[in-house]
Amino acid sequence: VTPFTLEVPRFPPTDAAPQSIIEFPHGLIGIPGRRYALHESDAPFLVLQSIDDRTLSMPVTNPFRFVETYAIELSDHDGARLCARDPARASTYVTVRHDPELGRLVLNLRAPIVIVSGCGHQVINQAPDASLRAPIGA
């Protein structure tokens, strides 16, 4: 997956299709903003774009495309917090970035973003092997 080039599109908020607007009742962890648009980008990457702050966007991807054995274990508290009555309808993403120290793309498998019916939560994965910076693309 090297070299890393990710051209991040900057759509004005009004361009976002309504079905791609995600409400995060608690935002992303440590990041301001409650409303994001999920945009297609260079597959397999997507862009989570803040509607409140257009300079804020984060590349995300489907972790299962890269880590077949990826598993998410949630605390009871987090599990209850999700809007997920039906886990099968949930979409799961993780942030992706280039780690200059590793010279690789890394996925944050520790804090997946789970979206159900337009409602998103970033949760802590309790699985012991869930890395904050899991390199991909050997």
């Binding site: 990710l6 962890i29 440590g30």
Partner: protein, 66 residues
């Protein structure tokens, strides 16, 4: 910063809904129980900070590429 002394079994209220209870003190460790509404996220601080840093780094990548 509010600093208060509690013994095992004693509790702290954060507002009306969040209860922090000291369960057990053992050497340098304190076991704490937290009862909070499911709408309130609860994190270990070091994990919260690590994820916050990682989120900011992920956001910074594409800011740098503008």
């Amino acid at each position: 910063l509010l600093i208060i002394t509690r013994r095992p079994g004693e509790k702290i209220m954060l507002g009306d809904d969040i209860v922090i209870e000291v369960i057990e003190v053992s050497g340098s460790s304190v076991r704490v129980g937290i009862a909070a509404p499911r709408s309130v996220p609860v994190y270990r601080e070091e994990i919260w900070r690590a994820v916050k840093d990682e989120n900011e780094a992920a956001a910074a990548v594409d800011r740098d590429q503008r």
